[in-house]
């Protein structure tokens, strides 16, 4: 969607009108309307969904901010959002799992939800709204004004492919009385071209070589398959980060500085660093709203070191799509985080290991090892 002609047409037209408007408040009204129209063009249902969901979340934000019964309103608001996500995105998966289990025990409910269609951008908007409500509950943000919240929920440049921006940051950008600067156009153009190059020249080109091997892998030798796997590792990074480049670059055209989403993830020396640099907006979301709260649930080392990474990363996998292979992919990363944390604990108690791990060659081996492990995990993702 953000590589189509409709996107760039709207981007240019709305940018011209946007900067002709003298006041930032009115610009935000205009950009919200343009974004809703853009979503409506591709998926009427999703446009309506964005509006309804934004009203729902904003009402809960008001209730939480009033402080009376804020624990209840936070839980109820978040539970509602999670239920919407489950109903629209994961009921099919749940149906498949219970269907299989019913073959053995025949007592589980059967969900019939074939009529529900997955609205565009649902996973992104639900995660954004959960962070919004939780930040207000934690007292690190206020609800902001409604139009800025609608803009945050619908901004067409980041609606489909993220990043999962936080309202705390976005509000500062939206409230700033901005003036047009040619630097915006320059930065935006560079970033979009960079993204398009990564997508069309590198990722898609790699796809021509890789896809036939993945489809008919039995016809190829182990070496060709291994090359295709490593190629896929590069391809998925190029593809995914290209969308982020285009989203960040396009937002810059309106003066918005959206958070970075990738920072050389394949050059990191451990899995923890990898997740600080891969899909940063998602990994930070998982860390803040799953990892920390889950860890504080039980004061038990086994829970905190083993189960929390597995659960949190399993959910991270599930976020990518309603299929068990995504869960498996996430859990492989969760398991690696567990191993890494155990290694850190051992290292802290052994000065020789600590000295060894500071050697340059050790770091280089660690980078290679992390890259190979992450690449092997992509088998489950694809």
């Amino acid at each position: 969607m953000i590589i189509g002609i409709q996107f760039y047409s709207l981007l240019i037209i709305s940018c011209l009108v946007y900067w002709l408007i003298p006041k930032q408040v009115i610009r935000n009204y205009f950009l919200s309307a343009a974004s809703i129209l853009f979503i409506f063009y591709f998926d009427r249902y999703a446009a309506l969904f964005v509006l309804v969901l934004s009203v729902y979340t904003y009402i809960f934000a008001l209730l939480i901010q009033n402080n009376k019964g804020k624990i209840f309103y936070h839980r109820a608001g978040v539970a509602g959002l999670v239920l919407v996500l489950i109903a629209f995105k994961y009921m099919g998966l749940l149906n498949g799992v219970t269907g299989q289990l019913n073959k053995f025990i025949s007592v589980l409910p059967v969900f019939k939800i074939d009529f529900l269609l997955l609205p565009l951008g649902l996973s992104y908007i639900i995660f954004k709204h959960i962070s919004y409500l939780t930040d207000i509950y934690w007292g690190i943000n206020d609800k902001g004004n409604f139009i800025n919240f609608i803009l945050y929920s619908s901004l067409f440049t980041i609606f489909v492919a993220g990043p999962i921006e936080r309202f705390t940051r976005f509000k500062i950008e939206a409230e700033r009385e901005n003036k047009f600067s040619p630097v915006y156009v320059e930065e935006s153009f560079q970033r979009i071209v960079y993204g398009l190059f990564k997508k069309f020249v590198i990722a898609d080109w790699l796809g021509y070589f890789i896809n036939p091997v993945w489809i008919n892998h039995e016809n190829y030798s182990i070496w060709v398959r291994a090359a295709a796997l490593f190629g896929y590792s590069i391809q998925i990074y190029m593809d995914f980060s290209a969308y982020s480049d285009i989203a960040i670059g396009s937002s810059r055209l309106f003066g918005f500085k959206i958070m970075e989403n990738f920072n050389y993830p394949y050059f990191q020396s451990n899995i923890s660093q990898f997740w600080r640099c891969w899909h940063i907006s998602l990994s930070e979301w998982i860390r803040d709203y799953l990892f920390f709260p889950l860890s504080s649930y039980f004061n038990n080392k086994v829970w905190q070191l083993f189960f929390v990474p597995l659960i949190a990363m399993g959910i991270c996998g599930l976020w990518h799509g309603p299929a068990l292979h995504f869960v498996l992919w996430g859990m492989c990363h969760g398991f690696a985080i567990f191993i890494y944390q155990v290694w850190m604990q051992i290292k802290r108690r052994n000065i020789n290991l600590s000295t060894l791990s500071n050697k340059k060659w050790f770091t280089q081996v660690s980078i290679t090892f992390t890259f190979v492990y992450v690449t092997l995990c992509w088998i489950f993702f694809r």
Binding site: S131, D135, W138, I140, D288, F291, L353
Partner: protein, 77 residues
């Protein structure tokens, strides 16, 4: 507060207790504390100073040094 935090960080995250860290030492961005271990720091602050710091504030940008930690702990009450 600074001394207690430094003592905890040395005990929990450093292999060599003789390594000197001070209020300005970069801890997260230099990899002394990895992001998945930050929970134990949050739990320590809650236990010791009775303040629960929200996770979005515990980042390499805002929680990197003991000095920044003290500022956030004092601000967040």
């Amino acid at each position: 507060m600074e001394e207690k935090l430094i003592a905890f960080i040395k005990e929990e995250f450093l292999s060599d207790p003789d390594i000197e860290i001070n209020a300005g030492t970069k801890l997260i961005s230099k990899g002394i504390i990895d992001s998945f271990s930050l929970f134990s720091l949050q739990a320590f602050i809650e236990r010791e100073f009775d303040k629960k710091i929200p996770p979005p504030l515990i980042t390499a940008e805002s929680f990197d040094t003991v000095k920044q930690m003290v500022e956030i702990i004092n601000k967040f009450c």
